[in-house]
């Protein structure tokens, strides 16, 4: 038989492939038996580090292919804010999957066990913390991060405001050196500027009035009229022509006097008008002084006290730590939850970028019937831990039922119920009840968390340069409840109570220290209630506390007095600055008024005197002319007298 013939008779089955196949299976077995667990452990540690941003350590991990089970021993999650501690340590996690479901590409766990849970345990070595992500470049950074930066700046400003609020109160209470501060703003007051302007205007007016006074008939002019009057003959007229000449001269003197009088009246009216204008300016100055006083009050942050502001100011720092944690987990949720959950109702924007090829996705259908397994179903997770197994361990008992990818198929919601005590940490009566219901059209998460007693220590409430208030020790009690509808509509109520609260209070000023110590010493149990609500990721947060109202009551009286004092000080300052100028203006105005009135009155009197003399002389001249006529014509000459009268127009 030739070689070619031998080749032709070769079987369709490659028997010589059996050995390589067996070798391949052996390699596979060796890998899964000796290396897979190690690689899976390292993979989980890496994934944990990437997800949490801090080192995650797993002491041991075991898998069994035949039993389809997994056992993870001692998981340590580093606290990113304090790398020397773990935020959470779990002693053991055990679960086994159903082969029956696994062959159908479903992951079903009858019971998982989580044992020995501990919080805030000390690490042997500080854990690695992921460095902050480098800032993104390009326009997307501007668009995406500007809002974040703005919110951050606002949050910081709000924090500063909170500290400043109490700082301002302290400054007012302690009567901080406002004189020095007031001195710095001298010359910037609008009322001062206005007063200076009025003063300058007044000087200009004074010059104008002096000019006008000079243009008025002077005393010598009136005297000249008197001299003219003295020369007028008013008796012993020799003839009628003489009498007529005298009367004409007297008439002329009267007319001149009237002209002088009119001139004086005109100037006097102008002067009154100017003075009225000046009075209006001075009234405006008074209004400006009031406005300046208010503006200075605002500038010196004279606070108006209300309960809400006080509560915010006092607890902003305390709640800030918890808000930071909430924000951290919110960011994680945003990062890992499907985008549509957070952007459900946002308008669709046309995406200009390259669309993913359909191969990436396609549509995956689920052909279920009532007895089908869902893709993922953990029927029960049993959580337990015993105090005393390690220094930080607590008594934890609880279970989570029906964690699944398809609640509608199994017809029941996911329910978590955990009760815990951590005697080593003095935490008692902690409980969590949580329901995640996706069996309805809109998913609903409801939660209720309570801690009957937990220690509170060393919490800074206020840390301003003037005042430091810290909650030294207290026993806290907390109730938290809320819901999340359609993974968007968020509501949360927090009710905190601090019993036996002891505060550390320090203040620069002894008066402030006394008032604050007095107020805090008489406080009953402190409560703190917070509400958070809104559509994720935008949540608004509000707090209220009896500390606010109690402190308000205690402080109101002293602070009102102090604020009034501060206001008075500012008013005095404003008045002191402007009043000098204002008084000067009044003085000058009065001086001018007096001077003008004196001069004009004197002239008026003089003029009136001369006028009377003229009238007297005129009457005398007429009488004398009449007597003379009677005497020369005798008793029969009545007709002649009458003629004479007619002639003289008497």
């Amino acid at each position: 038989m030739t070689k070619t013939e031998t080749k032709k008779t070769k079987s369709w089955i490659r028997w010589n492939a059996v050995v390589p196949f067996v070798i391949f299976l052996a390699i596979l077995f060796v890998y899964f038996h000796f290396f897979f667990d190690h690689n899976l452990r390292k993979g989980l540690e890496w994934a944990g580090y990437k997800a949490m941003g801090a080192e995650v350590d797993i002491a041991d991990l075991e898998t069994s292919f035949w039993h389809a089970n997994l056992h993870i021993h001692d998981i340590q999650m580093t606290n990113a804010e304090k790398p020397s501690e773990n935020s959470l340590e779990i002693g053991d996690i055990r679960f086994g999957m159903l082969w029956d479901a696994f062959l159908r590409m479903k992951f079903v766990v009858n019971e998982a066990t989580v044992d020995n849970i501990r919080f805030a345990t000390t690490r042997k070595n500080p854990g690695r913390v992921a460095p902050p992500e480098p800032p993104k470049t390009g326009p997307s950074f501007m668009e995406k991060d500007s809002e974040e930066l703005k919110q951050q700046a606002l949050a910081e400003a709000q924090q500063k405001y909170a500290d400043n609020f109490v700082g301002d109160l302290a400054a007012v209470l302690g009567g901080a050196d406002s004189k020095a501060q007031l001195g710095k703003i001298e010359g910037t007051l609008a009322s001062k500027e206005k007063a200076d302007k009025i003063e300058a205007d007044l000087k200009a007016k004074q010059d104008a009035w002096n000019q006008k006074l000079k243009s008025l008939p002077q005393s010598k002019d009136i005297q000249a009229l008197g001299d003219r009057l003295g020369k007028v003959k008013y008796q012993d007229f020799k003839n009628p022509q003489e009498l007529q000449a005298s009367l004409q001269e007297l008439n002329s003197i009267v007319q001149q006097g009237d002209a002088y009088s009119k001139q004086l009246n005109g100037v006097s009216q102008d002067f009154d008008k100017d003075l009225k204008g000046m009075d209006t300016e001075v009234k405006d100055l008074d209004a400006q002084i009031k406005a300046d006083t208010k503006s200075l009050e605002a500038r010196f942050h004279l606070p108006s006290i209300n309960t809400k502001d006080l509560t915010r100011a006092l607890f902003n720092k305390y709640l800030g730590k918890y808000m930071a944690k909430i924000n951290r987990y919110r960011a994680l949720a945003e990062k890992y939850l499907p985008p549509k959950l957070f952007k459900k109702d946002q308008p669709k924007v046309a995406d200009e970028s390259i669309q993913p090829h359909p191969r990436e996705k396609g549509v995956t259908y689920e052909f279920t019937h009532p007895k089908s397994y869902p893709l993922l179903w953990v029927k029960k997770v049993r959580i337990s831990s015993e105090a005393g197994s390690s220094p930080d361990a607590g008594n934890v008992r609880g279970e989570i039922t029906n964690i699944t990818s398809n609640q509608r198929l199994i017809g029941t919601p996911t329910i978590a119920s955990v009760d815990a005590d951590f005697p080593a940490n003095n935490i008692h009566g902690a409980s969590l009840k949580m329901t995640l219901d996706d069996t309805q059209a809109e998913s609903l998460v409801t939660y209720k968390m309570a801690v009957a007693s937990y220690p509170v220590s060393g919490n800074d409430l206020v840390n301003s340069p003037d005042v430091q208030i810290a909650l030294k020790t207290a026993t806290g009690k907390m109730d938290v409840s809320g819901e999340l509808k359609a993974l968007r509509d968020f509501k949360m109520n927090i009710d905190n109570e601090f019993n036996g609260a002891q505060f550390d209070i320090a203040a620069k000023d002894a008066t402030v220290l006394g008032i604050l110590k007095g107020a805090f010493a008489h406080l009953p149990a402190v409560n703190l209630k917070g509400t958070a609500s809104g559509y994720l990721p935008s949540i608004s947060f509000d707090v209220e506390s009896n500390v606010g109202s109690e402190l308000e009551k205690a402080l109101h009286q002293q602070i009102d007095a102090k604020i009034a004092e501060a206001r008075k000080q500012i008013e005095n300052y404003v008045n002191g600055e402007v009043q000098k100028t204002r008084d000067q203006i009044n003085k000058q105005t009065q001086q001018i008024r007096d001077q003008f009135n004196d001069q004009v009155k004197k002239l008026q009197d003089q003029l009136n005197g001369q006028k009377k003399q003229v009238e007297a002389k005129s009457d005398q001249a007429k009488k004398d002319a009449e007597n003379q006529a009677k005497k020369s014509l005798g008793n029969g000459g009545q007709k002649a007298v009458d003629d004479l009268k007619k002639k003289f127009g008497l």
Partner: protein
């Protein structure tokens, strides 16, 4: 890598020999199936198993799989539409419900529209492709290969010491 190169070399050797037409055609047809199937799926493992244990030319299957992977990528939109139509068919619904809840079958990922569409396309093309490949191989041998073997270049190569040495080596060690 050397194993892969050896398979490619065997493919060209067999292609230029006078035997193994069915092996080559079956290999290329299996490559078509592999190209249209997702890498991690039950059907891929089944085809690999067949190629490995049955006398199907492995090099041809690998080369063909690479080629049809690219073709399948271009066919994805069509496969998606076809897959949806099949999976949404009410008449087939009871069948799919049964298959979905059977052991192992869900590992084919048949419930994905692209996988189902690609599977339908590849199964429809499988038998015709086998015969087309056969015809193409025969034509290649009758025209291209025959002409090349009559060329002076080939005669010169055949007369060389290297060719004699290699022929001897191949006879002894395969």
């Amino acid at each position: 890598m050397s194993l892969l190169l050896k398979q490619f070399y065997s493919f060209f050797q067999l292609l230029n020999s006078e035997t193994g037409i069915n092996q080559l055609a079956a290999g290329l047809a299996c490559g078509l199936l592999l190209g249209f199937a997702p890498a991690l799926s039950l059907q891929t493992f089944l085809v690999i198993f067949l190629v490995f244990f049955f006398r199907i030319q492995m090099g041809a299957a690998i080369l063909s799989a690479f080629f049809f992977k690219l073709v399948a990528f271009l066919f994805d939109p069509l496969a998606d539409s076809l897959g949806r139509a099949v999976l949404e068919s009410q008449a087939l619904r009871p069948l799919f419900v049964s298959l979905y809840n059977m052991p192992l079958v869900p590992m084919t990922r048949f419930n994905n529209s692209i996988v189902m569409g690609s599977m339908v396309i590849s199964l429809v093309l499988l038998v015709p492709a086998f015969f087309v490949f056969r015809i193409l191989i025969e034509k290649y041998r009758a025209t291209v290969l025959a002409r090349f073997q009559q060329s002076k270049l080939w005669h010169a190569y055949k007369a060389s010491a290297f060719y004699n040495w290699y022929s001897k080596y191949h006879q002894l060690y395969g």
